[in-house]
């Protein structure tokens, strides 16, 4: 039997740390390094960036990441797979080839996987049903910024089969980025649901990188949740065999931990029904999964099952929904809460008198009720931070929120300090629709690699 394939996680979100990926490339002895960098809203942001600049629209850290890891990856023959292509995989591939050249690594071969952009397709199907509301998509089409289907491992495989050292995609289901290398290495077919199940659970467990190995885990009040050397949490590595045997581990000599407890939290992360976790590759059933500690920082994963892939793909439709404006200011000492509440009333009244209207406005007293609602925190803490946020169709109205909050420094109740720089951001709402798989055509373009 051939040795197990080793797949390392390079990133777990768009703005993830770069050092763990570099350490993985240098010392992980992995065959593949996979960067998962697309949250639900990220593609829409990248679409806006691409509109402003046709060579932009991919993960803003792509060049930095490539600069860090490419020398070691080229040296060790590690292939890179990532959805850092965002809304412009071709430009991302071009930038990667350029980076490699700049580093003196020669003419790197880089594959761009496209076809996830189904904006035109959605536009001509106004009858598609929005999953969240049950209403037709028609009403939000005028505000639509992007529509991207979750491609599966089959699309990533197109890139891997070109022989490219780096495969960059746009919207691809997170686990598929990890499953595809295993399918490619072992020749697994889409009908091998048992193998796809193990490969998919592997991807699901690794896609958030350090969240499997001690990130998002420590609780100083519970010794069971101690995380060693948290400043240097090592990223996880999967060892998967041709028969689907799966063991998780992490980069040796790093901080963090990997055991049944960290793995259980991640196994159900962002899962709804554990018997039906739907991906473009299969419908994963986690109900029989067991996590067995087989050594220090080693967990064996057994019992994943799956049913055949669904015949429809999920599409995220991003639509502009105006702006959110926000400001903060702090109060402390006697009557801190009363002064914060008075400030909030004054700000709201000034915004009203200036004629601004808001679809929704929210007043938080940070330290009392901002995270878990009224009554969850102390009624009269020594200090409190007032936060006001408003959502509105008007950018001007959004700007006014933070502006009026900051004016509390000199034009509000006594002792207001530390006013924040006003924040305004675009609101990109997300709706989901399902479209028949046959309508979506993944494609691959190879950049570089020629003499």
């Amino acid at each position: 039997m051939t040795a197990a394939l080793r797949i390392g996680a390079g990133a777990g979100f768009a703005d993830d740390r770069i050092e763990p990926a570099l350490a993985m490339a240098e010392a992980g002895a992995v065959d593949y390094l996979v960067f998962e960098c697309l949250a639900e809203r990220t593609v829409a942001r990248e679409v806006l960036a691409r509109r402003a600049d046709p060579d932009a629209g991919f993960n803003p850290h792509l060049r930095d990441r490539m600069e860090a890891v490419l020398p070691a990856c080229v040296r060790h023959g590690i292939r890179i797979v990532s959805n850092m292509g965002g809304a412009n995989p071709t430009a991302a591939a071009k930038a990667t080839v350029e980076t490699a050249r700049m580093l003196g690594l020669g003419n790197l071969r880089c594959a761009a996987v496209t076809g996830d952009d189904v904006t035109d397709l959605v536009r001509v199907h106004p009858d598609l049903t929005v999953m969240e509301t049950g209403a037709p998509i028609e009403t939000i089409l005028p505000q639509m910024v992007s529509a991207n289907a979750y491609l599966g491992a089959d699309a990533v495989l197109l890139g891997l089969r070109t022989g490219a050292e780096v495969v960059l995609t746009g919207r691809v289901a997170d686990p598929s980025l990890f499953l595809a290398p295993a399918m490619h290495a072992f020749g697994w077919a889409p009908v091998d649901t048992g193998l796809l199940a193990q490969g998919t659970v592997m991807g699901h467990l690794l896609e958030c990188a350090a969240q499997l190995t001690g990130g998002c885990f420590a609780d100083p009040l519970r010794p069971e949740k101690y995380v060693p050397d948290m400043a240097d949490i090592g990223n996880p590595i999967a060892e998967i065999g041709r028969d689907g045997a799966l063991t998780l581990t992490k980069l040796p000599g790093t901080g963090g931990r990997l055991d049944r407890r960290t793995a259980t939290e991640q196994l159900l992360y962002e899962v709804h029904d554990p018997a039906a976790y739907i991906t473009p590759d299969c419908v994963l059933d986690l109900t029989g999964v067991d996590l067995l500690e087989s050594g220090p920082d080693r967990v064996r994963v057994t019992g994943a099952r799956a049913r055949q892939a669904p015949d429809k793909l999920k599409v995220l439709v991003a639509h502009a929904q105006g702006y959110i404006g926000e400001g903060q200011v702090g109060y402390a000492g006697i009557g801190a809460v009363e002064r914060a509440r008075l400030a909030a009333e004054v700000v709201k009244e000034r915004l009203r008198r200036r004629g601004f209207v808001y679809d929704e406005m929210r007043v938080d007293l940070i330290g009392c009720d901002s995270l878990h609602g009224g009554g969850s925190g102390p009624a009269a803490p020594y200090e409190v931070r007032l936060r006001i946020a408003g959502r509105t169709a008007s950018r001007k109205a959004a700007q006014a929120v933070g502006f009026e909050v900051r004016a509390m420094h000199v034009n509000g109740p006594t002792g207001g300090g530390g006013g924040s720089v006003p924040i305004v951001r675009d609101v990109m709402a997300i709706s989901s629709v399902l479209i028949p798989r046959a309508l979506v055509r993944p494609q691959v373009t190879v950049m570089g690699g020629t003499p």
């Binding site: 929210r362 995270l371 878990h372 709402a429």
Partner: protein, 108 residues
Amino acid sequence: MTRVHDLAHARAGDKGNTSNIVVVAYDDRGWQRLERDLTVERVAAAFSVLGAGPVKRYGLPQLRALNFVIENALSGGVASSLSIDPHGKSLSALMLTIEMPENGETET
């Protein structure tokens, strides 16, 4: 007083306007209590302050884990939420504050 924090650890995830929170017991005794007493009703009551619900519960006994799926927990969804924590990452900590009935006590 026993709270979920005494028996279990938790992690929250987001999808649209729905939060899912996995609760994992530290040991078998904790699991038995969670399995029996950390009911959908008890969780829904704790999250009603956020206007959240309905709540569904799934169990994975071999891992001593419960998965709660809480709809409408994210102030309209990550994208358009005015919340300071639009992903609801901190909601795992709200789950851990829930008070549990003492052993043998009947469900309220």
